[in-house]
Assembly symmetry: C2
Homo-oligomer: 456 residues x 2
């Protein structure tokens, strides 16, 4: 068997199948870059469902691993073809196949990116709000149940996916969900596939909810004395049902790193980045209530963005936090971990994380999607340095353990991939064996993204 030759026979076109080293290299790693890379044997570029079926049938018969690849933005090693085999590049399946503005839904192929989708939605005054900071393919975002800064308002991918067309390992087509907003017909397979990290099948079409673009936005940078009061302010704003689009927390050491990196002179304190969105009158109304709450909780200063440029500048600070940390050790790789805990646990979880980092003398940014209890710790690591990697693993474990002990999950939005397999077992106990059996139902030969999520 020659994998390249066999796949080539399907397409008779070099453009569909590649073993060029630069292309193999592009498909050997993900955004994280600290998970060890691994070359696929071959990269295929399906253009439609029929291509996907052909490739999967062949791979399944010959027990060859298949790893779908979008923009490669996973951070827990999800797209790394750790067992070689086929990397299936989905980026040519990038058509928006149907847009139904009045039904607030859109059908897309998996290679459509969220930026591309939002460009198409704009003229209908609609948007797809899930925003994991960088651009990403919709297929990839479904795979990890991605979310991001907007999830306080819109939820995560599982709340957006109404239906999917999926090709299973044996080439069988499965259609789950549909175009309806709710259903009580049979088991919810749609949400079983969302977040399954490409271990159950290949998505070939995804039906998503879309939303009105908020007509007006108001963004503020709010300085606090301490994490607890910043966090309490968020709980209290949620209790008043304010129209929060995003609310992000960074701690004082993170703002220190920003000051150094961007030559700014923010007071060293925890900050909330708060954005309200909706009808202009309502946003102003809600802002007055928000101000009351923020002041009541002892905020020191509110800096309001009064126009689009100022708003972008504020969010730029939030988005450059990771680079600020990276700049301290430009030769190292950026490492990130993410957990999600109940809202009231968040401030202490962040404090604990800072303590762990301080104990190991590690410069680290802490970013909290504080409206839903999810936060990230971002720091630098040299993947070649074994003792550093060991230390990182210990730190990661401590952060996850704190979350699990306090009602949390080992990953809020990045997923399990290669990086969090042992924590998933810790979190779910005997449930994991049922997950594994479900995997075997849909993929008995274990060709779909093998060695991910589950222990070997």
């Amino acid at each position: 068997m020659n994998l390249y030759q066999d796949l080539y026979q399907f397409f008779k076109n070099e453009n569909h199948v590649s073993q060029k080293l630069n292309i193999l290299l592009d498909h050997s790693k993900d955004q994280s870059s600290y998970h060890p890379s691994h070359l696929p044997e071959v990269v295929v570029f399906p253009e439609n469902k029929v291509d996907v079926i052909k490739i999967l049938k062949y791979a399944n018969e010959n027990k060859i691993p298949v790893v779908p690849f979008g923009l490669g933005t996973s951070v827990e090693g999800q797209v790394i073809p750790i067992e070689g085999g086929i990397s299936m590049n989905m980026t040519r399946m990038n058509k928006i196949t149907e847009l139904q503005p009045d039904n607030f839904l859109v059908k897309v192929e998996p290679g459509v990116t969220r930026v591309q989708l939002n460009d198409s939605l704009k003229e209908h005054l609609l948007h797809f709000p899930i925003d994991p900071a960088i651009d990403a393919s919709i297929g990839g975002m479904v795979s990890t149940n991605a979310s991001g800064t907007n999830s306080v308002r819109y939820g995560s991918m599982k709340d957006q996916v109404l239906g999917m067309q999926i090709i299973l390992a044996n080439g069988e087509e499965l259609n789950v969900g549909g175009q309806y907003l709710k259903s009580s017909s049979g088991y919810n397979l749609t949400n079983l596939f969302v977040g399954s990290e490409a271990t159950l099948g290949v998505f070939t079409e995804i039906t998503l909810r879309v939303y009105n673009i908020p007509k007006y936005k108001l963004t503020a940078l709010v300085e606090f004395t301490d994490l607890i009061s910043a966090s309490n302010a968020v709980v209290n704003m949620k209790k008043r049902d304010l129209s929060i689009e995003r609310v992000e927390l960074i701690d004082e050491r993170t703002i220190e790193a920003i000051n150094r990196y961007k030559s700014r002179n923010f007071s060293i304190a925890p900050y909330l980045f708060l954005e309200l969105g909706g009808n202009e009158d309502i946003v102003h109304h809600d802002y007055e209530l928000a101000k009351e709450i923020l002041i009541e909780e002892g905020c020191l200063n509110i800096q309001l963005a009064t126009n689009d440029l100022e708003r972008e500048n504020l969010w730029e600070i939030r988005h450059e936090v990771a680079f600020a940390i990276k700049s301290l050790n430009p030769e190292k790789k950026l490492m990130t971990t993410d957990v999600c805990v109940p809202l009231t646990v968040l401030p202490n979880a962040i404090k604990e994380t800072r303590k762990i980092m301080d104990h190991s003398n590690i410069e680290c940014a802490i970013l909290g999607h504080v409206g839903d209890g999810n936060f990230h710790a971002v720091f630098s690591v040299d993947p070649e340095n074994k003792s550093e990697v060991g230390l990182y693993k210990k730190i990661n474990e401590q952060i996850v353990d704190y979350a699990l002990k306090n009602g949390g999950t080992c990953s809020g939005e990045h997923g399990i991939g290669l990086g969090k397999i042992e924590y998933m077992y810790k979190q779910h106990g005997n449930s994991v064996s049922y997950m594994r059996q479900i995997k075997s139902l849909f993929d008995p030969n274990n060709i779909m993204n093998p060695s991910k999520i589950f222990k070997k």
Copy 2:
């Protein structure tokens, strides 16, 4: 084997196990009353998780069917013990085990009812919004993925359940989900169990999201010339992101039945029941926008409830629609079918349903949860009259077929139970065999609510 004796041995208490005829009869039917009733052999009343484990282990070893029973409010025959065996009455497991107002979550046993839960939440200014009209146990509502008039704002049960403790058929305890608002850790088993109609296991604790009680509500009865413009008005209100708590549609023939039943003199026309909720200023602001839209879409009249009593009176009309139909044939049983379609399909689906009813000379109420494309047709049938039952089945099939052909689902909120098994196969095709295999993973002896959802 003597089932009663064996179960009695576990408890040594007559209060826990019963074969009294009146109790068996109470557990032989559901709310629908047109699905044929069937007696269980015995009714057990577990008081805690340990009881549930004992009963299930015994039942599993002896391959005895088990059907959990809450308030018996299912309408597709879900709680009918069609194969005899054990009816497991969950109403003594009715404790609210934990309330975390600042985390917007609550943990309840499955026998807690939504009314009981809301009574406990009130003092914290919180509520659990899912409202399937009558009172129901939370366990039952999870089983069918219930929703109701508020789902346009809050979604269905699947959007409320954060985690569950489940006892599987073999007595094994499974803990799915947790107390976090989002997670990317492993397969989403939580949403697999929500809507599984007690075919996969017995829920012993459920963690739910709760919400702020809207501070202010404004309710209006809006008269239209036709269904299409009423429906367009709803789409346009959704496009303006108005703070809609509920929006319900009834057609002209339904209001005619109301007029007769309640001796009212509403104009014969389709009506929207619209409720806005939130901060008072915002509700008034949104009402002005709503009025513009309603008038633009040609509404004929808006009758505003100006106080709580008037609001209750308006909703009473909506809730009494079914009784208005029943009053025409008081000796018959009320039959209801429910489908969900894309928003823009709804007016034509309702028209088609009315046409089908007229064709058969059947008086029927049509109630639409028009904000999410879900509607019910309610009419009377004599379950003993075979030709009437045959006609009902034909009508049900026509309504479902129209929904399935137009991107809909065969049930929006009532579930499959005994009544919609064949439509589930029509809707999901080859997916059903995977659902069945999942059922076998969790319940290999098929003791959990057998003969429901799936064909024998």
